[in-house]
């Protein structure tokens, strides 16, 4: 396995880096927040991303996509972390595309993927029903009807659910909450009778949706994959999601280190730069080392997605554990080393700790994945 970027990936990384440095960053996020923007992201930034072809990155060429690697997309996610660039990218072009291009039938792929590639369609995964993620804990139900299915239930914390054109809904077609068997996936247009969407502002200034489905009628062709067999494709999609979230967390951690080292060189107390204090030096050095390890796991995890590695679940949990822990350390250390100023809303570092914590929690925090790793390893 090559743990370095190839030329194409390097190009994507550099382009994301310079584009987001110029067009995103904490100041844009602050502006979005303070203007009570109801999207939770900048429509202009999203349009620019579309122009750059980012939503099409993971879409195969035959569906008008670029067919780039997960490693390439991971570079964008990492830079989105560095520059706190909110957008529908993750929910649509990473998570949604992964499900559709892997599980969708030819008809579904040709219907949706080209639209996504053009930036004309956004998706959201309606999965969680409880405050703590657990993909087995699905009570939302689908029952057979004469010409399709009826969907009932409630979803919370749906990322981009407030704007997505189509919802990918995880529902239980048989069995009871906790069962692996009996999960099915459906595409449901937001504008369907019986679908009710309310927005919730969360800590990192994004907006998520609570969605209720009351007797929503679905056609057969809205089913993605096989009835009752949705858990495996869902697991694959969550592995993809967690690995890309790890890339985002890596970006956040790295940016926090970078800003903190800059501050250590700048801030004077007792007549010297506080970066001359060995206790802070050692902590910064230790953080840098942790980030180096995180870089390697994220790179290997992204590469393993491209190589369709058999142990993707294990690798995803390794990457998420490492990225969550490193991001937690980096954000905490960056506030502590900035001192009082880091606690103020006027200063930027607070945006990073907020965003990091949401990304940590999404689809399972380090505790969840540590346990999952041990379980998958048979102990």
């Amino acid at each position: 396995m090559q743990l370095i970027l190839n030329e194409e990936e390097q190009m994507v990384r550099e382009s994301a880096q310079s584009f987001l440095a110029d067009n995103a960053g904490p100041s844009l996020l602050r502006e979005i927040r303070d203007s009570n923007n109801s999207l939770g992201y900048s429509e202009k930034l999203w349009q620019q991303m579309i122009e750059l072809g980012w939503p099409s990155l993971l879409i195969p060429e035959q569906f008008d996509g670029l067919g780039f690697s997960h490693v390439a997309m991971g570079q964008i996610m990492e830079q989105a972390g560095c520059h706190l660039a909110n957008s529908p990218m993750f929910a649509t072009a990473v998570l949604g595309v992964s499900i559709l291009s892997k599980e969708g039938n030819e008809q579904q792929k040709s219907q949706w993927l080209p639209k996504i590639a053009m930036g004309n369609l956004t998706l959201a995964l309606a999965l969680d029903e409880t405050a703590r993620p657990d993909p087995l804990n699905i009570a939302t139900s689908v029952t057979k009807s004469t010409d399709g299915f009826i969907l009932n239930g409630n979803k919370s914390m749906v990322i981009d659910g407030q704007i997505a054109d189509q919802l990918i809904v995880v529902a239980r077609s048989s069995g009871k909450p906790g069962d692996r068997q009996g999960i099915s996936l459906f595409v449901v247009p937001r504008k369907t009778a019986g679908v009710e969407i309310t927005s919730t502002l969360i800590m990192d200034s994004r907006i998520t949706a609570n969605i209720s489905f009351s007797g929503v009628a679905l056609r057969e062709d809205q089913l993605i994959g096989t009835i009752d067999q949705g858990m495996d494709p869902l697991t694959s999609a969550l592995n993809v999601a967690n690995i890309h979230l790890s890339a985002e967390l890596l970006g956040i951690a790295n940016e926090c280190l970078h800003r903190t080292v800059g501050y250590l060189k700048d801030r004077k107390q007792f007549g010297v730069n506080i970066g001359s204090f060995q206790a802070l030096q050692h902590r910064a050095a230790s953080l840098w080392s942790d980030i180096e390890l995180c870089k390697s796991t994220v790179m290997a995890a992204l590469r393993s997605l491209d190589e369709s590695a058999a142990d993707a679940s294990l690798i995803a949990s390794i990457a998420k554990v490492k990225a969550c822990k490193v991001a937690q350390l980096a954000t905490n250390e960056s506030i502590q080393m900035h001192g009082g100023i880091g606690m103020t809303d006027e200063f930027d570092i607070g945006f990073f700790i907020k965003r990091a914590r949401i990304a940590q929690m999404l689809f399972g925090d380090h505790r969840y994945h540590l346990n999952r790793y041990a379980e998958l390893s048979g102990y």
Binding site: A131, M157, I202, G340, T344, N371
Partner: protein, 383 residues
């Protein structure tokens, strides 16, 4: 011992009769009683409880009776504390006066200052704030620059203070100023002035939690009479260190207030048990470790007090502050981990805000790094 037993019985009976039922319940942060000129009591009971306790001087149990204090011995005060906590009585007053400047005036102030300030502090009539840190004097507090020009019978103070807790809601400030600029560190005095004095402006600082418990305070030609200097002029650093010790001790108890539910009760309610164990096995162990450390810290506060004859716990306060603030951060981490996304919505009473706020605990009142410096130098003799 017999005297103490009698005191305990009398105290228990008095509390039974005088502590209103509504004051024996878990106190949300918003119902803390701060007192002060403009304070709006949140209930009649809150006011009654303060008045009754203040009448006995039990808002400042060990302060001398002559200034309105309780006049209790250290052992009696411990008994009072135990009896209050036995009925989960709310603290009648949260006060920088009784905790911080009051003891300093008692120790270092003139008789006139004692008579002027202590009774009002004890009765919760005047709310105080602390003017210490400056933008360029954080960890290096002794490098402060707020300048007090000697005008004979008074000083004219100019400068800027930062991280002044609730300056916008306080009546008086105790403030460190530079009265001799000829020395780099030193030449510092501790002065008291009314926040209504001309030239005082307090501007709240918004924190990452979205709240503003701190202010920037601008001092623009503020007149301070010389009789409002605590201790000797130019010798304020001694008192500052004394106050910092008090502050550390106070911050060592941060978050340590009676709560509706314990941490493990809240975690169990959110997460649920599986085979009798908290369903999140990693969080379960972190929780147990926190509870063990928390109890160890509580016992250490007690032990240090038992060991120390003086009112102040001295250098040990650095350790109590270091550990207590970390414990509060860990508590907040465990709470948001327990509650998951419920804690992440940006509501007014979101756990997220308390979690974010707690990140400052290891910075305010002397960073953890400063505490470690104090311990390694003053206690271990390194450096």
């Amino acid at each position: 011992m017999s005297d103490l037993t009698t005191f305990r019985e009398d105290t228990r009976q008095w509390l039974e009769e005088h502590c209103p039922a509504s004051m024996r319940t878990y106190m949300p942060e918003s119902e803390k009683c701060w007192g002060g000129r403009d304070y709006k009591f949140s209930s009649d009971d809150q006011k009654l409880w303060l008045m009754r306790m203040a009448d006995r001087g039990w808002t400042a149990p060990t302060f001398p009776k002559e200034y309105g204090g309780g006049g209790l011995s250290k052992d009696e005060a411990k008994v009072l504390k135990e009896e209050l906590s036995a009925i989960t009585a709310r603290a009648p007053l949260a006060s920088m006066g009784t905790e911080m400047i009051g003891p300093a005036i008692l120790e270092f102030g003139t008789e006139a200052l004692k008579q002027q300030h202590l009774p009002a502090i004890i009765r919760g009539e005047i709310r105080w704030c602390q003017g210490y840190s400056e933008p360029n004097a954080g960890s290096d507090l002794a490098g402060l620059q707020a300048n007090a020009e000697d005008m004979g019978d008074h000083f004219i103070v100019n400068g800027q203070k930062v991280w002044t807790s609730y300056a916008d809601k306080s009546d008086w400030m105790f403030c460190l100023v530079k009265t001799d600029n000829s020395v780099k560190h030193g030449g510092i005095s501790l002065v008291l002035f009314d926040m209504k004095s001309p030239g005082v402006t307090a501007r709240p600082i918004k924190l990452i939690s979205g709240r503003s418990p701190f202010c920037e305070t601008f001092l623009d030609n503020v007149r301070v009479d010389k009789d409002q200097v605590v201790g000797e002029i130019n010798n304020g650093w001694t008192i500052a260190k004394y106050l910092l010790t008090h502050e550390r001790e106070m911050l060592g108890r941060i978050g340590n207030v009676p709560a509706e539910k314990t941490l493990s009760e809240r975690a169990t309610a959110s997460i649920g048990l599986k085979d009798g164990r908290l369903a999140d096995s990693a969080l379960r162990l972190e929780l147990a470790e926190w509870e063990i450390d928390f109890q160890s810290h509580q016992l250490t506060i007690e032990r240090v007090r038992d060991e120390t004859a003086a009112a102040s716990v001295g250098n040990s306060s650095a350790m109590l502050k270091l550990y207590g603030t970390q414990l509060n951060q860990r508590r907040r981490e465990l709470l948001i981990a327990s509650e998951g996304f419920d804690a992440m919505t940006w509501k007014e009473d979101s756990e997220a805000r308390l979690w974010l706020r707690s990140k400052g605990n290891t910075i305010e009142g002397g960073t953890s790094e400063v505490q470690l410096n104090i311990i390694s130098r003053r206690i271990l003799g390194l450096g």
